[in-house]
Symmetry: C2
Subunit: 364 residues, 2 copies
DNA sequence: TTGTAGGCGTTATCAC
DNA sequence: GTGATAACGCCTACAA
């Protein structure tokens, strides 16, 4: 006569019997509580509690075509310096998503094409509800593909082609480098160099634009000082050397990444120079390396970005799937300047080529 | 008369009609190909191809109680220096798992208790097939919990209590520090210090044991030189200072982490010293920071570890769920010494307290 | 407000 | 070797 407690996993049926109601009522308690009489509801809720019942997502999914799963790509990082910031983003995203009742499914992909193949598989087999894309770039085929399938998605990174029409969150790189450069100007620096990436990279151009802006605002000509190369410590070192060997060596460096900044510090060290108030070096992304070596850097508000991404995604998923869905929305966040030993801690001391040392890395 | 191509997602039924067989036969082609006549099979396979059919995991899961999902915890990293190594592991794991037809679901948890709560939820709602645990430690309640529920799992990190009986993969930290210390001995170093963590941390004790071993093997007494504190750059700096201020300052540092090593380098720098062949500093984990600043370090073979974890997991899942399951197995991998500028590049040059410089970080 | 009927896509069991 | 039937757990009508 009893409902055989403990045999197998509890189902709606088990709960219903225990609470002396029908399956449907239990379902309503879960999905539309307002339809259920308070007294009945609390009786059902107690039964759920006692039986430790949890709705079976597969069964739910079969019926509703919703998995409560969101997909995020795990990227293979280059030198490991900048790679970690995406991991921090995914961590934050996972945490925030859990608060909204979503789980995060990660996958890998070597390029856009294989990422699209992953979408196809994930959508077909697991019925992923939405994707969060990272590392958007020019001529990005992913957004168009997803849009054509009516798959909800949000990008962390704006659509660099301008024509796209979807929800996104991004960090205003230009605002960051602009602020850093302005502050350097205010401290009396005149020859402020920029170490960046080749033109055309969206993120790189953006970060460079901020520096250029600020420098023009101070009345200086930025053209002569910029050096661009791919990302990496060696590239930064080489670029900085080129500038330092020029006729008018810079008195400060603003860099598009911590890797480049680290390279610049290496170049200075090669010349017996040490970064600091007289010779500031500013990186971007506030990576572990920056924290470790005391590099002033621009930090992306990753937690906030993750939060906003999930909010936008939830908005997308909240509306009826066909018909008028929510308007796409964006958020552009300001990076935060984290001041450390390598610069902006105070005004220059007055003797820019200070402290000649023998601090070069020993090479036996 | 036609099977209305393109209407909704293709199902077994769609494929069956197209191949002029029953649903069941299609299912057999997918799950037990050997039961199906080759000719029929290829006909079905073509239909699958043409229709771009993919089995619906939710429906499958409902029937089989298998989700083809494995759970991994995304950890919040401390100083961000060592945190990234777990992310590299998860990346590798995701990639390897995909090769086995599994997807990785990530989740967060603040402590063991909330991680166990996550297990409960994940098992109940998504019917996760297995978990890969990281950061095992003494008195770890997670393994017992999972074992008591008969949930398959593999740990990356050995069971430090010794009594556990499950599959695991780990990196032989002691072997790493032993090798590094031996090589320092061979180069003529006598006073080799160890910067580690407080006793009782499993991983820390292991790494320390290797150093102790090797030092005894060289005929030196390790006791006087060890310094232990929590992990972090500042702790390493302070610890190194204590040693360097002692009666007999060390001529080499072996460290339990790159953070500690970085601290040691800072301490040396405070004294106008620079690490190198005469004054080696060796870190652990080969993090991005190590690569960036040229720190010699011991690298964990994370890709291999991930591969083995998935293999062990697949073995667990391959057996019949009840009855005699596969025996637990382990793998202990050797870390690799990555030699860079801070040491082991060659023999000491003979003047151990070389290159006094003014290389301290400027403090305006 | 509560209960009943049907089906989502798949696989296991059993005939044929 | 192949095909019919039932069931997995849930949700969405609809009826009471």
């Amino acid at each position: 006569m009893d409902d055989r407690p403990g045999v197998g996993r509890p189902t709606l049926e088990t709960v219903a019997r225990r609470a002396r109601v029908s399956r449907q009522t239990v379902s309503n308690v879960l999905n539309s509580p307002h339809l259920v009489h308070p007294e009945t509801r609390s009786r059902v809720e107690r039964a759920i509690e006692v039986l430790r019942y949890r709705p079976h997502q597969a069964a739910r999914s079969l019926r509703t075509h919703r998995s409560r799963l969101i997909g995020v790509r795990m990227e293979a990082f280059g030198d490991g310096i900048n790679g970690s910031i995406l991991d921090r983003f995914i961590h934050a995203l996972t945490e925030v998503a859990e608060g909204h009742g979503y789980r995060v499914l990660v996958y890998t992909a070597a390029d856009d094409a294989s990422e699209i193949a992953a979408y196809e598989d994930l959508l077909g087999t697991h019925e992923i509800d939405a994707f969060i894309l990272t590392s958007t770039h020019r001529a990005d085929p992913r957004t168009a593909w997803l849009a054509s399938r009516n798959t909800p998605f949000v990008t962390f990174g704006r659509p660099w082609d301008g024509t796209e029409h979807h929800s996104w969150v991004d960090v205003d790189g230009a605002a960051g480098t602009r602020e850093a450069t302005r502050r350097l100007c205010a401290l009396g620096h005149q020859r402020i160099a920029f170490l960046g990436w080749p033109e055309g990279s969206g993120v790189g151009d953006d970060r460079r634009a901020g520096w250029e802006d600020a420098l023009r605002g101070c009345g200086w000509d930025p053209a002569a000082l910029v050096v661009a190369g791919p990302d990496g410590v060696d590239e930064g070192r080489e670029g900085a050397h080129r500038l330092l060997d020029g006729a008018v060596p810079p008195t400060a460096f603003v860099c598009a990444s911590d890797s480049l900044a680290l390279g610049a510090i290496g170049a200075l060290s090669d010349l017996g120079l040490v970064p600091g108030p007289d010779l500031p070096v500013i990186g971007f992304d506030d990576t572990a390396v920056a924290r470790a070596i005391g590099l002033t850097s621009l930090a992306q508000p990753l937690g906030q970005a993750a939060q906003l991404c999930v909010n936008l995604m939830a908005a997308l998923l909240g509306t009826d799937p066909d018909g008028t869905s929510t308007r796409p929305a964006h958020h552009l966040l300001r990076p935060e300047l984290v001041v450390r030993a390598t610069g902006l801690g105070g005004p220059p001391t007055g003797h820019p080529t200070a402290t000649i040392t023998s601090a070069r890395t020993p090479t036996s």
